[in-house]
């Protein structure tokens, strides 16, 4: 608007140009906004002769200031020229406008005349139209009757055609039936069905209807027959079902029929499978064969005896391996099951959903039936598979079983896809899980029996030490001679523990197959979590370790009462084994397991420390028992030697009794035996002449204190004071006490037991003079040799003192032997 205002103020010569520009501006709209701005900036220049802000004065001043005369002249002529051309342009335009105005006036005048003529013609037209209407009304009036007749006739015609169709229907249906064009027949019948139904009260229609019904029944019968025969292809079958459905056959019955039909086929598959398991004798035959296989190299001398049986073994081809079995199951049963499911769903479920049958809840019913059908058959299949899996008792090759299970599981996934809501796959997974846990159990049993077997081996090796030593010394180029006997103990220990460890490792490797990546069921949550932690770790590894401890403990309990049926060396060896387990092996095995199986413990598991404690307890118990058994053996010798001798009438001692030498020998060999497996241990410092220590019958201060009382009257004493005095002088010795895991402690325990027995036996006897002296000699001899084995020699001294003291007390004529004589006898041996 501003621009227009400016334009209106402008001088004439540029007005047109300005108007032009304004129009352009008006129509060019905003896209030229920028140019406009520039223009505006330009037009602000007062010297621009075309700009809106043109200032003549300014312009003139500028020209006068800037231009030379010649230029001014040129400018002037140019300007005059322009003014002139502008004037002529204006004149031309004015003339043109005038001409156009004249011609427009002419045109308007001519139009006025034309309209007047047209008005007349329109009047004429309306008159004609009303005439036509009149005529038309008259004509239709005359034609009315005929038209009604024609309509009626045509109606009769169609009715007749329909009737003809109806009358011809039975024949037509028959023909279709003959030609087996069942589809067409059904279509025809469907067309006529309602009409016949409606007019069935008329006898003629009734007749037709009956005929039709008869034919259709026949047809249905034929269809059903065809359906039942089953030999027809799936497409035929489905066509049959479709037609039967259209014939209003009850869908439920059809479903049942279809399924029972399928069932018979599937059952034959199942029977085929069952036949493979059925021959139970084959299992024993396999066992037999394996036994034979083991023994055959030995019994090559009698091939005739084994040949008839061998032929019996290999004739039944039924002992297929589990992979083959599962393969067959998958290929035959599972795939045909899938086929049945697909076609059934196509027929009854998806097909029915589109048709009008959907309203009758048929899909739901059909689905329910299918589920029941599949569940039932699958259950039978599963029971077969489980039976087969249970036959897999051998723990040799796990990969076959795992692969079979994998295939089994994989193929069931197809069923999942087909039947989303079915419980079949989960049941399948359960079977796999059961098989896996069963397997773990079998492995545990195998490990346990392996352990017991190796213990038996060790026992045998211990029972025949000479042989093994001989071979060992030959192999080793003659090691330390003389005491070769128990030399094999460390070897036995290491071989035992190594073989157990190897066995555990191989079992772990076998079990590990269950969780391999390429196995479909390995990513089930069970196999990721529970199987690893509960199955493998707890019920396999931990149980096995516990079993080791347990069985070790049983060695202590059972053999204790029956006089030590377990060889002591085995006890010692097992004790060391358990101790090794406690220190390192258990944590190693568990770490190995955890690493291999990436166990994530969701549920609480047995911690390593518990197992270690258990192992340590077992080791302790075994070692204690070892001490007990060895102590007992020596005790028994001592006891017999004391009990069977007549100590009153014995002769003057000349020698150390052979029993004592035997005791020292045995103790020495025990020392060697224990030294092979256990460290030395600490002992108290010896006095310089431990073996030389003299002790006389009445020298012991303790004895003096005690028996000096003989000559004082016995009165009730101040109780606490007396007992306290006694306690000051002696420490209580626990005879059958726990020992530490070292040689000295073990030997101390054994010697303690032996000497205490000696003491108690001596107290039950009565001695003559020489009896006492013999005891003196024996004790001195023991003293000379036993101190070196024990942790605290004072203990030996104390017990021997007690023995001599007691025998002196039990002596009728206590005349002790000279110490020097005793020493001489003992030196002599």
């Amino acid at each position: 608007m501003d621009a227009e205002a400016v334009v209106s103020e402008d001088s004439c010569p540029d007005k047109k140009r300005r108007v032009h520009g304004m129009l352009k501006l008006y129509y060019g709209l905003n896209e030229e906004g920028k140019a406009e701005e520039e223009e505006e900036a330009q037009s602000l220049d007062p010297c621009d002769i075309n700009g809106p802000h043109f200032d003549p004065e300014h312009f003139l001043n500028k020209l006068r200031r800037e231009c030379s005369l010649a230029e001014l002249m040129d400018q002037e002529t140019c300007m005059v020229k322009q003014i002139r051309s502008l004037d002529s342009d204006m004149q031309t335009l004015v003339y043109e406008n005038y001409n156009k105005f004249i011609s427009a006036t002419d045109t308007i005048r001519k139009m006025k005349n034309d309209f007047k003529k047209m008005e007349d013609e329109m009047d004429c037209l309306s008159a004609n139209m009303s005439a036509i209407t009149d005529f038309s009304a008259r004509i239709s009036g005359t034609l009315q009757d005929q038209h009604a007749q024609i309509t009626k006739l045509s109606g009769v015609h169609t009715l007749l055609r329909k009737l003809q169709f109806l009358f011809e229907l039975p024949a037509r249906l028959n023909k279709c039936l003959e030609m087996q064009a069942y589809a067409q027949a059904v279509r025809s019948h469907r067309l006529a069905r309602c009409v016949l139904q409606q007019y069935s009260h008329l006898p003629s229609f009734k007749g037709i209807q009956d005929d039709c019904h008869a034919i259709m029944d026949k047809l249905a019968l034929e269809l059903r027959q065809k359906f039942r025969d089953g030999g027809s292809s799936a497409k035929d079958l489905s066509e049959c079902v479709e037609l039967l459905l259209q014939l209003d056959e009850p869908a439920e019955e059809l479903c049942d029929k279809f399924l029972s039909h399928a069932r018979s086929r599937l059952e034959s598959d199942l029977q085929g499978l069952e036949a493979e398991i059925r021959p139970y004798p084959s299992a024993s035959a396999v066992k037999d064969a394996s036994v034979r296989g083991l023994s055959s190299p030995a019994s090559t001398g009698s091939p005739a005896a084994s040949s008839p049986k061998a032929s019996a073994i290999f004739s039944p081809s039924s002992n297929t391996d589990i992979l083959e079995f599962i393969d067959r199951g998958c290929n035959e049963f599972v795939s045909s099951l899938c086929l049945v499911i697909t076609s059934y769903q196509e027929l009854f479920v998806s097909h029915a959903q589109t048709g009008e049958l959907a309203s009758k809840n048929i899909p739901e019913m059909a689905n329910a039936k299918l589920h029941a059908f599949v569940d039932d058959l699958a259950a039978r299949y599963f029971s077969l598979v489980e039976r087969r899996i249970q036959e897999e008792k051998g723990v040799g090759d796990n990969s076959l079983l795992v692969r079979a299970l994998d295939r089994f599981h994989r193929r069931l996934q197809a069923v999942t896809k087909l039947l989303p809501g079915s419980s079949v796959p989960s049941k399948g997974t359960e079977i796999v899980i059961r098989a896996a846990t069963e397997r773990v159990k079998q492995y545990l049993a195998a490990l346990q029996s392996f352990y017991m077997d190796s213990l038996t081996d060790v026992r045998q090796a211990l029972a025949t030490p000479r042989l093994s030593v001989a071979s060992a010394s030959v192999g080793g180029g003659g090691g330390p001679s003389g005491r070769d006997g128990p030399n094999s103990l460390p070897e036995l220990l290491s071989s035992l523990s190594a073989s157990i460890l190897n066995q555990i490792k191989s079992v772990l490797a076998s079990v590990h197959l269950f969780t391999a990546k390429d196995i479909t069921f390995s990513n089930k949550p069970y196999f990721k979590g529970e199987f690893c932690s509960q199955g493998v770790r707890e019920s396999l590894v931990v149980s096995f370790i516990k079993f080791i401890c347990q069985s070790s403990r049983q060695f202590c309990e059972s053999s204790g009462d029956k006089g030590g049926s377990t060889p002591p060396a085995l006890l010692l060896l097992l004790s060391r084994l358990c101790l090794d387990y406690e220190t390192s092996t258990i944590s190693y095995i568990l770490t190995l397991t955890d690493e291999q199986f990436l166990v994530q413990h969701h549920s609480p598991v047995t911690p390593v420390t518990t197992l270690c404690t258990e192992a340590r307890e077992a080791a302790q118990k075994l070692l204690n028992h070892y001490v007990k058994v060895q102590g007992l053996i020596i005790s028994q010798m001592l006891r017999k030697s004391v009990e069977t001798r007549d100590w009153v009438n014995t002769i003057e001692p000349r020698n150390v009794r052979a029993v004592m030498k035997r005791v020292v020998e045995d103790t020495t060999s025990i020392d060697v035996q224990v030294g092979l497996l256990y460290e030395e241990g600490v002992r108290k410092a010896h006095s310089s002449d431990s073996s030389k220590r003299t002790f006389s019958v009445y020298s012991s201060s303790r004895q003096q204190v005690r028996y000096a009382a003989s000559y004082t009257p016995s009165v009730p004493m101040d109780t606490n004071l007396l007992s306290n005095i006694h306690k000051l002088f002696s420490e209580r010795i626990d005879i059958f006490s726990s020992v530490e895991f070292n040689k000295v402690s073990v030997l101390t325990g054994i010697i303690k037991i032996s000497l205490k027995t000696f003491l108690e036996c001596v107290r039950l006897r009565t001695f003559g003079r020489y009896g006492l002296q013999q005891i003196q000699v024996d004790c001195h001899y023991l003293q000379m040799y036993l101190w070196r084995f024990v942790s605290d020699e004072n203990l030996v001294h104390f017990l021997l003192d007690e023995i001599v003291g007691s025998s002196a007390h039990r002596c009728l004529d206590p005349a002790p032997m000279e110490q020097s004589v005793i020493e001489v006898i003992c030196e002599r041996g």
Binding site: G560, D561, K562, G563, L632, V648, N649, R706, A709, S710, Y711, T712, P713, S714, V715, P716, M717, T719, N720, L722, S723, H726, K727, S730, R732, D734, I735, F736, S737, K756, E760, R763, T766, G768, H809, R810, C811, L812
Partner: protein, 387 residues
Amino acid sequence: MEDDAPVIYGLEFQARALTAQTAETDAIRFLVGTQSLKFDNQIHIIDFDDENNIINKNVLLHQAGEIWHIGASPADKAVLTTCYNKTSDSRVVSCAAVWRMPCDWETGSNDSPDDSAHNPQTLELLCHLDDSPHGNAACVLWEPMGDGKRVISLADNHALLWDLHESSTQAKVSSTATLEGKGQLKFTSGKWSPHHNCSQLATANDTAIRGWDLRTMSQIYCIENAHGQLVRDLDFNPNRQYYLSSCGDDCKVKFWDVRNVQEPVKTLEEHSHWVWSVRYNHSHDQLVLTASSDSRLILSNMVSISSEPFGHLVDDEELSEGEDNHQEDKSKEPLKDSVVSTYEEHEDSVYAAEWSSADPWLFASLSYDGRLVINRVPRALKYHILL
């Protein structure tokens, strides 16, 4: 609830034989027989004054020899039997005899308690149980709760049943049983069962325990390998007729149901050396006393195999008969089998322990060095059992 301190009494001789005076039911009285080869042996009659915690003793001389076993008549306070060793020049013979205490021993001691050691009275010999043809006597058993007319002596491999006549001055063997088998079999110990009308005997030889029917003198059961080593002692549960306890050199105490001798009902392994004696409390059979050569005496509470197990339904009969069981139903939590107490007053092997016949909560133990210790069942336990 502090328990009384044990009372200790010292004998001047070594001793193994201890018994409660069975016929005495008022005074707490024990008999101890000494073992000495050089001096005259003695029988110490030890009276315990429960109220004042004082021991009174009387000494009777037993000049025949050192005493290995002593038994008091259940009927006559003054009558007792001993098994003793007689040593002649070069022979040691074990004999058994029935003795009577002089009737005035009690009054004499009361007059002059101090000089009793100077002129002790001598036991009066009633009769020898002369079984020399049968070997050395190991122990003599009185018929429990009998009239003091029948005893059994065990000698080597024979069990002899004696009838005592003429106020025990004559003894006649009425029947014998002989243990037969390989080797030299020897009875080490035995016990006359108080059940079945006193018609059963249990004996121990080596590691086996055997039961005998005294009417036919035949073996009725045998527990082979009852202990890993020698069986040292036996005792019958006074209230449960088929229950028997045994102890031995395997440091164990075992409880047997003689109807099933395959496995012990219970095994205790508390001692660290041979167990020489096991005794049921006469009235509360859950209390079991064991003595061992580890110098310890252990009192165990074997509730689970006692005649008054916890939770035992007290029927009307029992309710009326004793207030012992009366409140057992509502008693606190059940007691478990446990060691009640370990007594360490002894310095030497303890070979004998006995419950008092007068006070069921009191017992004595005797160690080889001649120390007799009298202890009581801890009060807490006593009240627990009673209430």
